[in-house]
Amino acid sequence: MILLVTGGSGCGKSTWAEKVVETMPKEKRIYVATMQVYDRESELRVARHRAQRADKGFETLECPKDLESAPIPEGSTVLLEDLVNLTANEMFDGGDPERIVPALKNLAVRSRHLILVTNDLFSDGITYSPSVQAYLRKLAEINRQAAEMADRVVEVVYSIPVILRDCRSQSCSMEHSMIKDSGISVKGEMP
């Protein structure tokens, strides 16, 4: 299964994504960490995420860019966190953002389950500098392509999962995802 998790900052995406992984096979759980650790704030965030993952059987792979080269064993359950950092690192740290989507597609084929975490940065109405606008636009494109690959797309709203699409519930069209269904628990039916 391929799952894309989006939502605002600090809304519980990581915690929810990890809960989903807990319902999945214990073997070969790989956590792909994308954050460049360069200051105290990043260190604290990484420490908090590591604590969340303690005892959940994750092997952590640091992969700030070039996902294709990450040594992820075939058949793994992969939690990649997140597309926001990966895209920023590829764009602003001498990488190439064009290699992200092909790498995701290959990873999806190689993995048993693939859970991708991203972020919703697009509704503040601010026009930033050209390089930031280019970054936001590229991230939005990658998010849309990841959503297209995914069997399930979920927006986490303050810890509550709202299903935006579920290809396994027969209807991949939008009608089923009326807002009245939002907040339904998907924990029980994962994976």
């Binding site: 919703d120 697009f122 503040d124 109405g125 939005a140 939008m174 995802s177 009326m178 807002i179």
Partner: protein, 109 residues
């Protein structure tokens, strides 16, 4: 009238065209509101009501712009507020309102 909204680049334009191949489309409507209010000094609600009366079959496509920190510049604050007021009127008149995220539409009205 139908309204398609979403954050920047969330695919609301593509979905609007898929679902309404005929149009007529009014794209980047938040920028239309910006011009009407900031350049021409119109009231956003009156502008939106006049628009609805003139274009009852419009397919309106816009960005959601109100979910950030209050902008420092007065012009940005006016813009953000005006888009909110105008789109409330449009949403009120629209038969359907569809919100896009990651290219996926959710019908909220």
């Amino acid at each position: 009238m139908k309204l398609y909204i979403g954050g920047a680049w969330q695919g609301q334009d593509v979905l609007a065209r898929q679902e309404n191949p005929e149009g007529p489309f009014f794209e980047d409507f938040h920028e239309t509101v910006r011009r009407a209010v900031l350049s021409e000094g119109q009231d956003p609600r009156v502008f939106a009501e006049d628009f609805c009366a003139a274009h009852p079959d419009a397919i309106v496509i816009a960005n959601e712009v109100g979910a950030g920190v209050v902008p420092m510049a007065a012009e940005d604050r006016t813009f953000r507020e005006a888009v909110g007021r105008a789109l409330c009127v449009i949403a009120g008149k629209a038969e359907t309102v569809t919100r896009c995220i990651c290219g996926i539409g959710v019908r909220i009205k």
